[in-house]
């Protein structure tokens, strides 16, 4: 099968204006928010479930890889066409199909942008809880594939806790449904199993999500510390206090200065670290929690605790956090972020370890992360023109992830394994566990056409060998043409 015949076939299915195959167009789809690259043979934009089904049937028959893609904000290479093939873009399947306010449910197409769903139901006093920092761009289909989190998932859970039903197209083109509007149905929990499968089991074409009620009251606090150790100890103290904040984020000195320069969020430039703490609930509750949290922070040597007095102040504090990655551009030409998770009791020692690693390789590492979940995002900054630094950056990243594993943690809390961390999977899972995962993948995706060479090392793939002429098909971590840019 030659390239242009793939595009020709796709045009028969989705229409002439919904397929890209010119080199300059394909170039835009060679990367996502991660470090990897891979060039598809065609990009197409289905508009209906029927389109998706016909495309998959065609690809399955001809052994062509299919790589579903939302907004391409992913940070692990999940939407990169690592072995060529067809990128399935969901930009034209972006409708909210149903809002069932009485049952707190909505059914959406996969291309709906995360924040747009919350905006669409705000007048009903409802919202969709998972809020990745990329929520202004990322899609719900992508959230389902990656089981996305976000700062506010500390109290309310990640995507899998908020999806009750799916319509899925399997590689042979069969359209099927999992779950419905309740979590309690009969049969294996295929909805739960599918979420976070990174596009390797099927293509979701309809998603039924749970909507939450907007809180009556919200308090946003900024606790300021002279040292990052004190801030880290405060996270430990808050976790065991019994108060579950809606969000608990940490920015260290390096990060908060970068953010302050860019956004003027009001973070004090001379501090060692800040905690951004958000509390939600009944008015009475939030008042009491806020007082208790202030007391805990003080006891843990907080220099000062500020509370946003207006919605504008609150937005500004959050803008600093949500756009932190963008502010890095002021400090370095490239950055590489990790997504390790550790027990919350190990945060202080892990931050110390990260500092040691930075010194060892003479690299600046900033920390801005979901402290309440123990989900780290160390940002390793480097000069993209310096191959030696790039090499050191990779080594530093791997050492940090190894440390996370050693203290009982994980290599990814919300960014996914994708192609970026696929080689680290054997450090986390035994060969037997990986083999069981492969068996399960083969049930859904027997020929390996869906997102090959992702997530599980050695899983079946429809193109066992690298296609000539496509970049970055070997070790993705060797490809440093582009690093960073996305937002966790």
């Amino acid at each position: 099968m030659v390239e242009n015949s793939i595009a020709h076939e796709l045009r028969q299915i989705v229409g002439a204006d919904a397929v890209l195959d010119k080199p300059e167009d394909l170039q835009l789809y060679t990367y996502d928010g991660s470090t990897g690259q891979g060039r598809p043979e065609a990009v197409c934009f289905p508009q209906t479930t029927e389109h998706v089904s016909r495309i998959l049937k065609f690809a399955n028959k001809n052994n062509i890889p299919i790589v579903p893609r939302g907004a391409g904000t992913g940070l692990s290479g999940g939407s990169i066409a690592r072995q060529g093939g067809i990128v399935l873009g969901f930009a034209r399947m972006n409708k909210v199909l149903e809002v069932d306010a009485a049952n707190h449910r909505a059914t959406v197409q996969p291309g709906v942008v995360n924040i747009e769903l919350s905006n669409a139901v705000a007048h009903l006093g409802l919202y969709f809880a998972p809020d990745p920092s990329s929520q202004r761009a990322c899609t719900i289909g992508g959230n389902v594939a990656e089981n996305s989190g976000g700062p506010h998932t500390l109290a309310s859970g990640v995507t899998v806790n908020h999806v009750t039903g799916l319509e899925v197209v399997l590689p042979d083109g069969r359209v099927t449904e999992f779950g419905g509007k309740t979590f309690n149905g009969c049969g294996y929990d295929l909805t739960g199993f599918f979420i976070g499968s990174e596009g390797t089991l099927g293509v979701a074409t309809k998603i039924t999500v749970k909507l939450m009620r907007l809180p009556e009251s919200v308090a946003t606090l900024l606790a300021i510390f002279n040292t990052v150790e004190d801030a880290a100890q405060t996270v430990v103290a808050l976790t065991s206090s019994g108060i579950t904040p809606a969000a608990l984020e940490l920015l260290d000195g390096l990060m908060l200065r970068a953010v302050e320069d860019a956004y003027h969020a009001g973070y004090p430039l001379d501090s060692g670290a800040v905690l951004l703490i958000e509390l939600e609930g009944l008015r009475e509750e939030v008042e009491e929690y806020a007082t208790a949290v202030e007391a805990i922070c003080k006891k843990q040597n907080a220099r000062e605790t500020r509370r946003a007095k207006t919605e504008e102040e609150r937005t500004l504090l959050w803008m600093g956090r949500k756009h932190a990655f963008g502010a890095i551009g002021r400090l370095a030409s490239g950055f590489y972020t990790q997504d390790g998770v550790i027990p919350r009791t190990k945060i202080p020692q892990t931050l110390q370890f990260i500092e040691t690693v930075g010194k060892k390789y003479s690299l600046r590492i900033g920390n801005v992360f979901h402290a309440g979940d123990g989900n780290l995002h160390p940002l390793i900054m480097y000069d993209i023109r310096d191959p030696h630094q790039a090499e050191c950056t990779l080594k530093a990243g791997e050492e940090i992830l190894q440390y996370c594993i050693d203290v009982g943690g994980s290599i990814t809390g919300e960014h996914g394994v994708g192609m970026e961390k696929i080689d680290m999977m054997p450090k986390l899972f035994s060969p037997a566990s990986l083999e069981v995962m492969k068996r399960l993948r083969n049930v859904f995706n027997p020929l390996g056409i869906l997102n090959p060479a992702k997530m599980i090392p050695g899983a079946r793939s429809c193109r066992e060998t690298t296609m000539p002429g496509h970049a970055s098909l070997g070790d993705p971590s060797k490809d440093f043409a582009r690093m960073g840019g996305g937002a966790p």
Binding site: G192, S240, G281, G416
Partner: protein, 456 residues
Amino acid sequence: MSTTSISVDLRNEIAKIVGAGSVSESSERHLIDGVKPGCVVFPVDAEQVAAVLKFASGNDLVVVPHGGGTMQSVGFTLERTDILLSTERLNKVLHYDSGDLTLSVEAGMKLAEVQNLLAERGQFLPLDPPSHQNATIGGTLAANVCGPLQVGHGSVRDFCIGIEFVTADGTIARGGGRVVKNVAGYDLMKLLIGSHGTLGVITSANFKVFPQPKHTQTFVCEFVSAEELSACISRVVKSPLSPIRLEVVSPMGMEYVAGLESVRNPDNYSPSAKVAGATKWHLYLSAAGSEAVLARYRNELGVVLSKEIGGAEADSLWRRISDWQTTISARHPHAMQARMWFPMDATAKVLESAERSAVENNLLFACAGRPSVGNMNAAFLPIATDPASSMQYANTISALRAALPAGCGVSVTQCPVEAKARFDVWGAQQADIELMHGIKQALDPKMILNRGRYIV
């Protein structure tokens, strides 16, 4: 009573794997649907579980995983039970980091023991299924049972963060991990939770645990009709309140939360001697917080609030509510019990349909559960003077299934063995049966685990 027999040779072979002291004859307490298993095996670790399963696979022996035995009535009658694989000796705490609010325990640990351990540090696992004294961690996961706390904390899928299990061919697999946020690898927890022992034997699991609230209060509201009740539930759900529990008990269901000192004869429900309050629908709401917060609940509930309960009295009430199904099984060995699921706004319609199906088939109806999360347990009770026939149960379920609106379903969790053969206890699957068979085939190709019970 019948017994599945297993040859002395095979039993000796199993004894070689786990030691002679770890294989025994089955006893009365191991009966499943009236059938005695061929033998009971007590492995002490995942490796022994793996060795037993490998042996069973090679010899076409049907293995039934067994925790506290509280949910063995669920599902179709087993084809046979050669080996009852007890998790009784898998009872260790593997890891408890109270500062991180994470716990890892072996599958055979009793839920009650886990709660006692956590309570020492002021923490708890928000799992309150029926028979919590006997229920084990593994069984609770496999049967995906929950209780009133489902309203505030979700079901076990929301806080089980890691799992270890053994597939039918003896492969020991792990999913997830010990940290509260983790997306590495497929979510094997979700697959095993609610798999009813058909995909593997769960050997240990990791959880997110929670701090116990300092002060809680229980508010009781009473309603004369299911419509009024469901209107109140939807008002609470739309309000800013976040109850920990929001449990409904039907008028006749009150009989089984009354905590009667002298229990009447099995199968003898005597309407002439109803317990207090058994004419109304009851809604029990519990909330945590300071006096100011609880005052807010009082205000928001307004005139529908009939009384408040706190302290030990409330704890005891909630225990009885959690044990509702167990109490019914004990009182009515011939009752049929079922789990109904539905979108919240179908509550009144579902309750009305269930009651009508019962009455039309000469059965009494009681129910308890959580309409706000679309989950109710129903009991269909035979009238003592008129023992129910299998067809009565079958007709009741088919009438109910026919009357339920789209998106709703019902699965029978307990009924007389004779009746089980007459209808599909599970009901229509909500997900793709072809894929489920594929998954079963991938993890248990010889169908040795719980053969015939589920996904057949």
